[in-house]
Amino acid sequence: MAQFKDLDPVLHSQLRLAIVSLLVGVETAEFTFLKEQTGATSGNLSIQITKLKEAGYIEVTKKFRNNYPLTLCRITPLGKQRFSEYVKALKDYLNPDQK
């Protein structure tokens, strides 16, 4: 049976898990989309995006559109793999009998 300690600490955080769960279903998402969907503040979201980027789970691209900065986030293959492992570990934790 998986324990909480087995769950990836990078993903086992409310906001970081929400960000990765959003990115896993899309090609790219803008910072403003992530902010709207998670309900997080810009500052907190920036901090968590940086942590995910440093862990290699997401890529961040900065562009300009009509002179306004645009931050695009995309999940990496490593991020997809870690998310998949996290979901599997979570299933094992929640349904230990079905393992």
Partner: protein, 195 residues
């Protein structure tokens, strides 16, 4: 989501994952514009060609189809301008767009191949358009578009097997069932935007 280091239970993790994934739906906010624009344009071209053929001595009634060339640019520019404003780009949106781009490329090749024999093009274009509509309907889980695609295939057969006095009307009839009716349903549905 302020207290990001708060201890998460397994159930909370699962709920976050489920909630967030449900928010990345297919964006179809442009869908009704393209269906209605092409529905009316092809309806007008096909009916115009039929009326010119029936009621006038005009030698080349197929000239009305040249209106589709600026139509392609209108559609591409509208899609590009609206697409730039999207905050998120899903895989399904990408497949939806490229299905219609593939239809455009196939239609251009078809026009070149059948050049000079335009009496055959109606059923062929309808068959191709049906495939793109069918796939789009499946992607956005929108049954009227799937049914509309099936009617395209039926009208393609009708156009092929009926005589020249009836077959030109198959295309405008197909536009009603395949593009215009699904387009208006999509436009006026309450959750227009995402599915």
């Amino acid at each position: 989501m302020e207290n990001e280091e708060k201890h998460l239970t397994g159930e909370e993790s699962l709920r976050i994952i489920t909630d967030m994934i449900s928010k990345t739906k297919v964006n179809i906010s442009q869908g009704s514009f393209h269906l209605l624009f092409w529905g009316w344009l092809i309806f007008a071209c096909s009916l115009g060609e039929y009326l010119l053929w029936k009621l006038t001595d005009f030698a080349s009634p197929w000239y009305v189809w040249l209106l589709t060339i600026p139509g392609v640019f209108v559609s591409l520019i509208y899609g590009f301008v609206k697409g730039r404003k999207e905050l998120v780009y899903t895989y399904a949106t990408s497949i939806y767009i490229w299905t219609w781009m593939a239809f455009l490329f196939a239609a251009i090749v078809l026009f070149i191949v059948v050049w000079g024999n335009f009496q055959f093009i109606g059923p062929l274009i309808l068959t191709l358009a049906a495939m793109a509509s069918f796939i789009s309907g499946i992607i956005i889980k929108f049954r009227p578009l799937i049914i509309g695609a099936i009617t395209f295939w039926i009208f393609a057969l009708v156009a092929h097997f009926t005589g020249p006095s009836v077959s030109p009307l198959a295309v405008p009839a197909a536009m009603l069932t395949g593009y215009l009716i699904p387009g208006y349903i999509l436009k006026y549905r309450k959750d227009h935007g995402t599915i």
